[in-house]
């Protein structure tokens, strides 16, 4: 798996923005129902998630 695990776990601002429903003309409700959801790491983690292969 070549994907950087840190990149995978990060939430971009776009991904983090959520909305509760669609309230059309009641823009105040749309605004009220807009939120960001952020998930911290479930446990402590190192940022380099792979073991090196030589040089030890």
């Amino acid at each position: 798996m070549k994907k950087d695990i840190n990149t995978k776990e990060k939430i971009t601002r776009q991904d983090a923005i959520k909305r509760i429903g669609n309230y059309g003309k009641y823009s105040v409700l749309t605004a009220l129902g807009t939120y960001l959801i952020l998930n911290p790491k479930t446990s402590q983690a190192q940022s380099v998630p792979e073991n090196p292969s030589r040089g030890f």
């Binding site: 429903g21 952020l38 790491k41 402590q44 073991n51 030890f56």
Partner: protein
């Protein structure tokens, strides 16, 4: 008493933490109050009536909104996660082929690695702490892999087991245990661990954060060579009682493409061991951090999101950013304690922080700017 959620208003938003899911939500304050009412068992009808009145909309619209909020926001975040337990054979191997001893100030750590696989996960960043003294051991750890899962023991105590794709959590847990022993504080006395660099000027500390590949560790190496102290790189622990950053003595990981910049300052990098991280396609060397007092711990009131501009179109730019923007950048990369008291302390600490964004290609200007930040003289 454990409440299902905690609130903290910062700038024009309210942050709500849910204990059930450990999620942090950034909401309009009025929305946060609605969720608080739900947590206090206020009937949805009553919440809807109040909302309709407050923003002058028909009751039906308010009720629809509140029901949606309950269904999609409140309930999913207040469900307790399932406890899945799995049985593991915890018999340790008879023989560990690699045993290393590390000295951090007056504390001696012995780590037994089953094979090179386990050793490569931990040893490179601690290699500068290795000692020949194997007579004194204050703490010992054992790491082995069985059936594609890696086990960590703290002496005879089983700490955890991780599969290959979650191996970075094993590394993180090992680092956490090291920090606990080094500073004599168990896990519940820590506020959080940040994926950052912890830098000090001897009087206070700052967190330097940035995406991988944006120059954070190189910036740290430059700062270290210019009068600052590296308290921790990549794994920065903060204590709950005093909100101080404490040391984590890991080497600073330096990528190959930073060598040109750093070799004049650190000629020892020329001959230092190289480690190839295949999956991430990067080659790193580890630079010894300059902290000589691992008991040092200092207050932190500033976050700096630092980026090296590879295009060199920005000499230096440093702006204050909103705390909410900073919060959004900080949380996904951080472990924050889930104890209610600690979350309260964390949110209070965060509400008092200054947050900056620093982009640079001129090293000297970066160092001067950081000096000014430390001196409150930006």
């Amino acid at each position: 008493m454990n409440t299902p959620l905690l609130l903290k208003t910062i700038e024009d938003k309210t942050i709500v933490w849910f204990s059930g899911t450990d999620n942090y939500l950034v909401l309009e304050p009025m929305m946060a109050e609605i969720l608080q009412d739900m947590a206090n068992d206020v009937p949805l009808q009553k919440i809807s009536e109040a909302l309709a009145k407050q923003i002058d909309i028909p009751f039906n619209e308010a009720s629809d909104f509140v029901n949606n909020a309950c269904l999609n926001l409140f309930l999913p975040n207040t469900e307790q996660p399932e406890n899945t337990s799995e049985f593991f054979d915890l018999e340790q191997p008879l023989h560990y082929s690699i045993k290393k001893h590390y000295r951090i100030d007056d504390k001696y750590f012995e780590v037994s690695y089953k094979d090179e696989f386990e050793a490569y996960l931990i040893h490179p960043k601690l290699s500068h702490l290795e000692t020949d003294n194997d007579n004194t051991t204050n703490f010992s750890f054992q790491i082995y892999t069985k059936g594609n899962r890696t086990f960590l023991f703290d002496n005879t105590e089983f700490i955890g087991v991780w599969d290959r794709k979650n191996i970075h959590y094993m590394q993180g847990k090992f680092s956490m245990k090291l920090v606990e022993k080094l500073h004599n504080k168990p896990e519940d006395e820590w506020l959080g661990v940040f994926h950052a660099s912890g830098v000090s000027n001897g009087k206070k500390s700052m967190l330097f954060l940035g995406d991988s590949g944006n120059g954070k560790s190189t910036s740290l190496a430059l700062l270290q060579a210019n009068g600052f102290t590296c308290l921790a790189d990549d794994f920065v622990p903060m204590a709950a009682d005093n909100r101080h950053i404490y040391s984590f003595p890991s080497g600073i990981s330096i990528k190959k493409n930073s060598l040109t910049t750093l070799l004049p300052l650190y000629p020892e990098l020329e001959d230092s061991a190289e480690f190839h991280f295949k999956t991430l396609n990067k080659i790193v060397r580890f630079l010894k951090p300059n902290n000589t007092d691992h008991k040092a711990n200092l207050p932190c009131k500033d976050l700096v999101f630092i980026t090296y501009d590879k295009t060199k179109s920005i000499d230096l730019q440093c702006n204050k950013i909103s705390k909410i923007d900073a919060f959004q950048k900080l949380i996904p990369d951080s472990w924050v304690s889930k104890h209610h008291n600690n979350v309260t302390v964390f949110l209070e600490w965060f509400s008092q922080l200054n947050a900056y964004e620093l982009t640079y290609s001129d090293n000297q200007k970066m160092i001067t700017t950081v000096q000014n930040l430390f001196d409150n003289d930006l």
